[in-house]
Every structure is written in structure tokens, then in C-alpha cells.
Amino acid sequence: MALTQSDIDIEVNDLQNAYDKARAAGAPVQNHPPRDYAPYRSSVLRHPKQPLVAVNGGDPETVELSGPVFGPTDITDIDNDLTIQHQGEPLGERITVSGRLLDRDGRPVRGQLVEIWQANASGRYAHLRDQHPAPLDPNFTGVGRTLTDDEGRYRFTTIKPGAYPWRNHTNAWRPAHIHFSLFGTAFTQRLVTQMYFPNDPLFRYDPILRSVTDESARNRLVAAYNHDLSQPEFSLGYEWDIVLDGPSATWIEEGR
């Protein structure tokens, strides 16, 4: 029998309560979702059951403390504007999304590749597997790339993606989001995540967002509307800073 939203809500709330209770009893904050999160059904067979094995990062020869580098040859100048990749204008609400890419010490990650992908304004991906009956937009693919600047800042012009249905349970809908892929100075800082828009009524129903059981961590996935980023007669501005986790060799090299 197909699972209903209320079946999923019960599971989500049980896991939320268990986390909140553990926190109240002094358990550490979980900044990332657990890989074993049953309300997101696809996770059930795709998470390891053995604990992760710790690699001590103190050895500067650890390969993962360095990472891939990218440069101007890896992007084109218009890759960060998803609204000019076709002959016509895409449909939807034009937005500017900008923010800084930082490490946990607050230092900017400079000159590094940021990749995004998203649904169109109707909530449809330009992907063969997305066959739900919302229209494709011939003027919107939904893929962007850029390099961070000297302050670690990135900037994209795009359109606001629509919510879309998925088959986790009956009547499952993803809140509007933009997928982000980020690199730090070390492979250990790699991050793939999703940015949400403020006050989306679908937040509470979405097991993917709710898999981040720490409320303040969850809030860090939501961009802020920034009127100063909005451009007159053109676009609405959203600000979203990204902080990469994980050790890097940089602080060893810099003797910090």
C-alpha cells in the first residue's frame, strides 16, 4: 500500500523528537543529515551500516587534504546567467542568487568551481526521467557554473524554480530548491547540497529537508531575501552563504 503524507509525517516527527530529546540530554549537534533516514525511502538500501573509519588528517601527504582546482578555462563568461542560454527569455520570476563560499574559519574559498542545477519555473527538470506533466521551457535548461571571486563570492542570474512532485510517498512535493555543488581547497571539503527559498509552506512535509534534524542547521539551507541584491525592473535578490565542512591542508601549510 502506498504511503501517505501522514505516514511519513509520523516517521519524520518521531526522528525529530528523538533528536531534540538527545540534544536536550547533551548529545552533540548534528550539522549534516544522517545517511540512515528512513522517511526518505531511497536512503534505506543506500547507506553503510558499518561506522565510518577515521583517517587522521595530520599527515600532510594525505591525498584528500588537497583537491581539484579549476580555472577560467573551465567555465564560459555567461555560464552564471541561466536566463541567456537560449534564443528567448525563460518563463518565470527572474532572480539573482549570490553569496560567499567560506571554510569553517570564515576564510573565503577563492577561484573555486560552483555548479548549480534546478527545475524550471513550472517545476520540471530538463531530464528524461522527469516526466511529470508540467511544461518544459525551451528557453531554460537550468544548469549554471561559475568561479568564486577573491572574496569567495559567487553570483547567478536565473529564474525561481517551481515545486515538483516526486514518488517518495503519495502527494510528495519538493519545496522549490536549487542544487549546488561546491569544492573547497581539499577533497575532504566537497559539498553537494540544496538551497531553499524563505517561508516555503512545503518545508514541513519534505523528508529530504527534514532529514537535517537540527533546526538551526536546517535554517542554514534557506536563502535570505535581500532587497539590496534585487535589481530594479529586472530581478529579485537572494543571499546565501555556504560554509564547507571538513579539514584542509591549508591551515597546515599556512602554519595557522
Binding site: N31, H32, R46, G142, F187, R190, I208
Partner: protein, 193 residues
């Protein structure tokens, strides 16, 4: 500021999320699997299947690879995606710089293949692997070791778990490395501290 300074780790990290099912038109790029050209006499192939907890192939995983250059360098080089500023298409790697970075989506059989040069890192040579997939809320790291030998990570593992990190040598400079996300023969996944 010292390594133990309370100033370090003042910012809280952005949580991870799954790569989802629809990365396919965004993340893969032409020749992402060819860190070195197929057919070059020095090129090795690393290949295998990504499998779930029931042993079924995972057709919507995407793997990234990072490694030392053949000379041991960990500097990498830009140019993995090299774009054509005229058409917006991909030019492919320039054939001179070794970027050290590969990205390969699994195919409908859950299979991947990477073409690269032998890593020249200190100690036992290995290629670092980062696994993303629909259903995986937070990526996983592992290592494909191309030989057995004394190694701080390998030596800390019981024999059956150690074996999951050893790529099996096959004819024609090819190595087989399956990734089992869960269950029997589950791959050792790593956490960096």
C-alpha cells in the same frame, strides 16, 4: 592563531543534501572519465559496479576521483571541464596538464570506468573516491588502492574489511573496484578528522 585556537571552526557548516536523481544534465561532462586518454600506453583503467544493500546496481550514482599525479604532485591543474568560449561546448582536456580529477556517472548497469595515470602518492598508490547518489543524503569517501602494502589506514582494518579497499588487478592495466554501499562486503567508507 594556533591549530588549537578556539577561533578555529567558528562557523557552522552548511548541511549536505542528496545529489538527487536529476544531476545528469548538470554534473557529468564529456571526458570526465578520461583523466588520461583511453588507449594511451601509460593509461590505467579503474572500473566496477556501485551496489546497494540488496546487491542491486545503483544506476544513479555519480563518482568523483582525486589523486596524485604520476610524479606525486597534489597540486592538480585546471582544465578538467575546458569549455569552448565560442560555442559554449566542451573542448575536452588539453592532453598536457594532469588535472587529477575525474567525474563519472554510473550507467544503467551501475557500472563506471575511469581512465587515468598511475598515482604517485607516497606509500601505497591509491585513488580517492567520493560517492554521490540519489538516496544518499551525504556523500561517502573511500579509496581504491592499486596495490597491497604497509599503509596506516589499511593496517588498521581487519582482513575482510581491508580487502574492500584493494582494487583487483586485471589484464591490460585494468583494475576492478566495486563499491558496496551496504550489507555483505560493505566497502570501508572514510571520515577525515
Amino acid at each position: 592563531m594556533s591549530e588549537t585556537s578556539p577561533m578555529s571552526e567558528t562557523l557552522l557548516p552548511t548541511p549536505s543534501h542528496t545529489v538527487g536523481p536529476f544531476y545528469g544534465y548538470a554534473l557529468p561532462f564529456p571526458e570526465g572519465e578520461q583523466v588520461a586518454p583511453k588507449g594511451h600506453p601509460d593509461t590505467i583503467a579503474l572500473h566496477g559496479y556501485v551496489l546497494d544493500g540488496e546487491g542491486n546496481p545503483v544506476p544513479d550514482a555519480i563518482l568523483e576521483f582525486w589523486q596524485a599525479g604520476p610524479d606525486g604532485s597534489l597540486k592538480g591543474a585546471p582544465g578538467s571541464l575546458r569549455r569552448d568560449p565560442v560555442t559554449g561546448g566542451f573542448l575536452g582536456r588539453n592532453g598536457v596538464d594532469f588535472t587529477g580529477f575525474g567525474r563519472v556517472a554510473t550507467d544503467a548497469d551501475g557500472h563506471y570506468a575511469l581512465y587515468t595515470l598511475p598515482p604517485g602518492n607516497a606509500g601505497v598508490p591509491y585513488i580517492s573516491v567520493c560517492v554521490f547518489a540519489r538516496g544518499l543524503l551525504h556523500h561517502l569517501y573511500t579509496r581504491a588502492y592499486l596495490a597491497d602494502g604497509a599503509d596506516p589506514l589499511l593496517d588498521g582494518l581487519p582482513a575482510d574489511r581491508r580487502a574492500t579497499l584493494l582494487a583487483a588487478e586485471e589484464p591490460n592495466r585494468t583494475y576492478r573496484f566495486d563499491i558496496r554501499l551496504q550489507g555483505e562486503g560493505e566497502t570501508v567508507f572514510l571520515e577525515f578528522q
